[in-house]
Amino acid sequence: MSDETKESGPLLIWFTAVAFLIGMAAIFIYAPTEQMEGAVQRIMYFHIPAAWLAFFSFFIVFISSILFLWKKEREWDIYALASAEIGVIFCSLVLITGPLWARPIWGAWWVWDARLTSTLILWLIYVSYLMLRYQTDVGSMRARFAAVLGIVGFLDIPFIHFSVLWWRTFHPPPKMISPEGLGAGMDPSMVTTLMLSLGAFTLLYFVFMGQRIKVEKMRDEVERLKKDYLYTN
């Protein structure tokens, strides 16, 4: 690891912590309470960034998997695995925070509408991806199978995004990215709060990625040393 990376790690962690402090202050103090939904609407400041991060993580899996299949370099495989793990964590948070908002608003924890069902399918695809990965030896055929699954799984994301526009669903239509414009119909302070939360969560993704990549490279080093020195002697 270069000195530059060593120095940027803690700096990024501190920067992320400060971003979260600002974000939390905005969520609980600055943002107004929504008139119809009340305090429970504040869950959206966690739910939307978690969904954004899940989609972004799986996009990185998609790109890294293509590059892994093309270039056959372990580096891309590591990026795909790290990002898939982070994506599953955040997709799980989406599937938990969504029902926690839905219960008081819709009167039901879960409805089988297109958006919710396709998000659950996305989660199941990437959980399968990880299950396949955890049984995979480095450089084996299964790593390639997992890469194919990582690419195919991503195709569900455009479907999730457009599902609320193509079908009549319980899930509200996109508020931030709408045909009327960015954040149209939302109070400006709510848009600012959401942007701050999105920024903090995005920084967290890079913190997680940095740590997870470091760990995976350590694992490779352990495996290499075992193979070169211990198993051969």
């Binding site: 009340g38 429970v40 964590i89 948070l93 925070t97 008081p104 997680f208 352990v222 040393l225």
Partner: protein, 49 residues
């Protein structure tokens, strides 16, 4: 209509999830570091013989 318990629960899950994952990475990193140290020690001893 406030339903603060749902907001509280969402916070518990979000922060719990974030810290659980960080803790898991750190634990895995520690166990790998131990393995690495042991292997390096074994190699050093092997080279000395």
């Amino acid at each position: 209509m406030n339903n603060l318990e749902y907001l509280f629960a969402a916070n518990v899950f979000v922060w719990g999830g974030i810290f659980y994952y960080l803790f898991r990475i750190k634990k895995y990193q520690q166990s790998l570091q131990n393995d690495l140290d042991l292997i390096k020690e074994a190699i050093k001893k092997g080279l000395q013989k």
